[in-house]
């Protein structure tokens, strides 16, 4: 279970999160929605442990463990996975090399045996096929020259390989056409399990047609302004964020 209490975060001297509270029980999928600038991506980065995000107050625990005390790689080992809105391009690092390095680093940290290259390739082929990812694509440098859809599928592939218990999907649908959204969403749905919690951050309701959440939270001015069931997303689709913008102003 993820518990966020009274979280205050400054970026570049400006307060972005202003006392955010959130509970995400094990096995559930919650959506975070909100207008631009409400702090959605900040929340994602804070959970993954990016530098330059100054936590001035509040706590974040994951299954009782203080998440904020951990380095980004330790968080990954502890089961936190962030699917980036803008996955990084790393020329010179073959995608396969990166995937194997990450998988084994996480396995090692969890006390699991590292996968031999043939074992790893077997797992990789299987997961890649589910996401309709061509093995040739994985021989190319990480994300370099990938289309928007390929990058996002690659993120989901990493999610499948690293076997996280908390997935944070940051605007995973941005820049994707409807077919790509469907493929990505199917990949995510396949990973839904009673052992895995997910936080789906999105500006639009569209993605939630495919990944149906248990709860929806609306972020406004650095706080959760409203929570509700999946119907809240539909309501927002109709009325927009105007009400929340006003609240923030």
């Amino acid at each position: 279970m993820l518990e966020i209490k009274n979280l205050h975060v400054n970026v570049g001297g400006r307060e972005i999160l202003k006392g955010l509270d959130l509970e995400l029980p094990k096995g559930q999928v919650h959506a975070i929605m909100g207008p631009n600038g409400s702090g959605k991506s900040t929340l994602a980065y804070v959970l993954a442990g990016k530098d330059d995000y100054e936590i001035t107050a509040g706590t974040v625990t994951w299954n009782g463990q203080d998440l904020l005390a951990l380095d980004p790689s330790e968080r990954a080992a502890a089961g936190v996975f962030l699917a980036f809105q803008y996955p990084m391009e790393i020329p010179g690092v073959a995608t396969i090399t990166f995937l194997r390095t990450a998988t084994n680093a996480v396995r090692k940290a969890r006390g699991e045996p590292e996968l031999s290259t043939p074992d790893f390739l077997r797992v990789l082929k299987e997961k890649a096929a589910e996401l309709k990812i061509d093995m040739d694509m994985l021989k190319r440098p990480l994300n370099v020259g990938f289309s928007g859809g390929e990058k996002k599928r690659n993120e989901i592939l990493q999610m499948a390989l690293l076997d996280p218990s908390l997935c944070v999907l940051d605007e995973t649908d941005s820049g994707l056409d409807i077919d790509a959204v469907r493929i990505v969403a199917e990949g995510v749905n396949a990973l839904r399990s009673p052992e895995r919690s997910m936080l789906v951050i999105t500006h639009y309701q569209r993605l939630l047609d495919y990944i149906v959440p248990d709860r929806v939270h609306v972020l406004s001015d650095g706080r959760v302004a409203r929570s509700g069931g999946p119907e809240l997303a539909l309501e927002l689709e109709r009325s927009g964020y105007a009400e929340f913008d006003e609240a923030a102003a």
Binding site: S73, A76, L82, I90, G92, V93, F98, L162
Partner: protein, 450 residues
């Protein structure tokens, strides 16, 4: 010979002249008027130029006059044995083990007992040691030595010509190809501080194709001043893969120069890899003498502590329709300093020239420094030329991405540095060497390679 009347400003400058005067009669080829003339003209050129210092534009960032405080005695043949383990330590196991025709030079002396001379000759290469050649030069060598892309204004090249006492000359006849690379192994061998002046001459006749690896290493930890020149002439339609790996001890000064001349429709692919020496300067002068040639030169240097590594390239497009490509990567840690100077010259009339150059530096520590001077000098209009130069630290966003995937910070950094260097290594078509250098960079980073 008579010395020119010139007041020298530093002890080392004068010391090289003294060295020359004292050794002249004992240098190989003494008494041979051809050699005497070569040496005399060269020492005069050096005497007129002096040791380069920072007010000399081409040496702005590498002040040799202040760094070379004395001239070490000239190296002598030692006859020292060489155990395989020593060779491995000096070059790195994988490089030492590369299947190749080996030519081993200890302090400049070509060692027949350690080299594959007869095999190489049997494969069709004409081969002489420089010592032999200066005494009884074959005509092909006499015609070319000191004349390929000669750089009379370069004091280091002049000093080398005046004092050359080791190296090899070789010629690949028309159309010759070999089954494996030729590996020129230069090691400094003795226990006493020495200066080593070697000069190699490599001629490829029409349509010949060779892979040549020059590696430089140290068997001990003593002061060495190395001045190594390789003259390369690539005949029409010939092809040369030319590599250099410099892993000398951190006591060494390494001044290396390649003088390259390309004929018509040639292909020249080169790579330079440096991790050694306290001060190194890798100079490449390349000139296109025939149309339709393709030149590619890449390199990687990984430096730390107080190492200083200077790469200086002068690429002269004298004729139309040639291309040149350079990609260099510098990784600088601690107080290390990297210097890159790359000049592309396009002469009047050298139309359809395509010249591109890129240098990128990664600074790992606060005290590291990188100075770059890419230069274009263009006198023809129908050209596409460009250069780029970047320097900076490891991209924090990339690092975070890797860490967020569970890769610990130190490992993530190493992976990014490896990838950075790897982009340059990709230019090496010789797979075994590429892998060996990839492992050498990993080793430098302290990463075990699985």
């Amino acid at each position: 010979m008579e010395l020119p009347v010139k007041q020298f400003q530093t002890r080392a400058e004068q010391a090289y002249l003294d060295l020359f005067n004292a050794a002249e009669q004992a240098l190989p080829g003494a008494g041979n008027p051809w050699v005497a003339d070569l040496r005399a003209k060269a020492i005069d050129a050096y005497a007129a130029l002096g040791l380069p210092h920072r007010r000399v534009e081409a040496w702005k960032y590498t002040d040799l006059r202040s760094r070379l405080v004395e001239a070490l005695p000239l190296s002598r043949a030692t006859g020292r044995p060489l155990a395989p383990a020593e060779l491995e330590r000096a070059l790195g196991g994988e490089i030492a083990a590369l299947p190749a025709y080996r030519l081993v030079m200890l302090d400049g002396e070509l060692r027949a007992d350690l080299s594959d001379i007869s095999e190489l000759k049997a494969a069709g290469i004409e081969l002489v040691s420089l010592t032999e050649a200066l005494q009884k030069p074959p005509s092909w060598l006499k015609q070319s030595l000191g004349k390929i892309n000669r750089q009379d204004r370069d004091p280091i090249v002049a000093l080398n010509l005046a004092l050359m006492s080791g190296g090899v000359g070789m010629r690949a006849a028309k159309g010759l190809t070999l089954d494996k690379p030729i590996h020129l192994i230069h090691l400094d061998a003795g226990a006493d501080p020495v200066s080593v002046f070697t000069r190699n001459l490599v001629l490829l006749e029409e349509g010949a194709s060779l892979t040549l690896l020059e590696s430089y290493g140290s068997l001990g930890e003593r002061d060495v001043q190395r001045n190594a020149v390789t003259e390369v002439q690539v005949g029409d339609k010939a092809s040369l893969n030319h590599f250099k790996v410099q892993r000398e001890a951190e006591e060494a000064f390494h001044l290396g120069t390649w003088l390259v001349k390309l004929g018509t429709d040639t292909r020249y692919h080169a790579f330079q890899f440096s991790t050694g020496a306290v001060l190194s300067r890798n100079q490449v002068y390349a000139a296109f003498a025939g149309e339709g040639s393709a030149f590619e030169l890449s390199g990687a240097l990984l430096m730390r502590r107080h190492q200083h590594c200077d790469t200086t390239l002068v690429i002269e497009h004298l004729v139309p329709r040639c291309s040149s490509r350079e990609l260099f990567k510098a990784v600088l840690d601690n107080e290390a300093r990297g210097v890159f100077q790359g000049k592309i010259i396009v002469s009047p009339g050298a139309q359809k020239t395509d010249g591109k150059q890129m240098v990128q530096a990664l600074l790992l520590a606060e005290g590291a420094e990188f100075d770059s001077k890419p230069e274009l000098e263009i006198f023809a209009d129908d050209v596409v030329c460009g250069h780029g130069s970047t320097s900076g630290q490891i991209d924090e966003d990339l690092l975070f991405y890797l860490e967020a995937r569970g890769i610990p910070e130190a490992e993530a950094r190493a992976l990014l540095i490896q990838a950075f260097v790897g982009e340059a290594l990709e230019a090496i078509e010789h797979a075994e060497l590429r892998d060996a250098l990839s492992r050498a960079s990993a080793e430098w980073l302290g990463v075990s390679y699985d």
